[in-house]
């Protein structure tokens, strides 16, 4: 499969970089890492101009992020409003919105380059949860600049062994993204357990009007 991807980049050049990075931001299954590494290798050989390749990849990625964010804002907000009619879900959604408000910028920045498999979902989620456009764009562009520089740079350095290096970076990226998902789920379980415990503690307080544990003489 990697040979076909490398041939695709050799044939289509800058257009391959632009289209692939754009589509990858919309959660479409395109091999953006392989394409970027090949792009880097072809800039090292002189088949592509480094500045033009970086520009095409960055333009595709930033436009793709914006499209994903807009989709999340258009469709996701209505979906969240519908899901939020249930009180338990409403609490969860409120917590997600709080998270986006406090750490949304960091999540967007890290999901551009370090946890890139999560990037498209952060675009959609950020738009749906009401992350500010300016904050999303600033963090997104900064992260994409780093991602483009890293992957084109890796492609240049490992031009002679692209396939072997692609296996390293692809698996490393998967490990980081899966690890982040595991930690996120663990934090979610912990947060929900704490929320429940707090709710019970409130119910036990004398005079709070709820629960049975606080009854005098019990």
């Amino acid at each position: 499969m990697s040979a076909e991807v490398f041939a695709f980049v050799a044939q289509w050049g800058l257009a391959a970089l632009f289209v692939t990075t754009f589509l990858s931001c919309l959660a479409l299954p395109v091999p953006s890492s392989l394409v970027m590494l090949a792009g880097g290798a072809f800039t090292a050989s002189g088949d592509l101009v480094l500045g033009a390749a970086a520009g095409a990849a960055l333009a595709g990625a930033v436009l793709g992020d914006q499209a994903g964010f807009a989709l999340g804002r258009a469709g996701g907000a209505a979906l969240l409003a519908r899901l939020g009619r249930q009180p338990r879900r409403a609490a969860l959604i409120a917590r997600a919105r709080d998270f986006v408000a406090t750490r949304g910028g960091v999540a967007v920045f890290l999901s551009r380059w370090l946890l890139s498999p999560l990037g498209p979902w952060v675009n959609l989620g950020g738009g749906a949860a009401g992350l500010g456009w300016a904050r999303f764009t600033a963090a997104g562009v900064a992260g994409e600049v780093l991602w483009v520089a890293l992957y084109l740079g890796f492609g240049r350095v490992f031009a002679a062994n692209l396939d072997a290096f692609a296996a390293v970076i692809g698996n490393l990226s998967g490990a980081l993204a899966a690890g982040a998902v595991a930690l996120g789920l663990a934090a979610l379980a912990r947060g929900r357990a704490r929320g429940r415990a707090r709710g019970r503690a409130r119910g036990r307080r004398p005079g709070s009007g709820g629960g049975t544990a606080g009854r005098p003489g019990a």
């Binding site: 050989s45 088949d47 062994n161 396939d163 998967g174 490990a175 595991a182 379980a189």
Partner: protein, 114 residues
Amino acid sequence: MKGARAGWRRHPWLAALAALAGLAALAFALRALVAAVMLARIAAAPAPVAPWMTPRLIVRAHGLSPDEVAVALGIAPATGRRTLAEIAAERGISFEDLAAPLVAAIEARRAEGR
């Protein structure tokens, strides 16, 4: 730790998903490690000539001069961005036939220790 345990007990489906994601992370990390070891082993030797490669990439990866690659492939040195597969198709020969003189030149260079 206590909070985490309580979380696991109260939300077994979240715990199962987190464990699954953790296992996937571990599997990916292991594969990355194996791939890194393989890369370290072959780092000194560039990847073999492949149909997707361009003449310039061969120059870059194998350290031949542009003229040596052009002569081996039977093309002009300042050719555009074309893959070996495209060059073979243009000349109406198989990739293997096109690549044979190039592989011989690479091996000769390696034997000379250049």
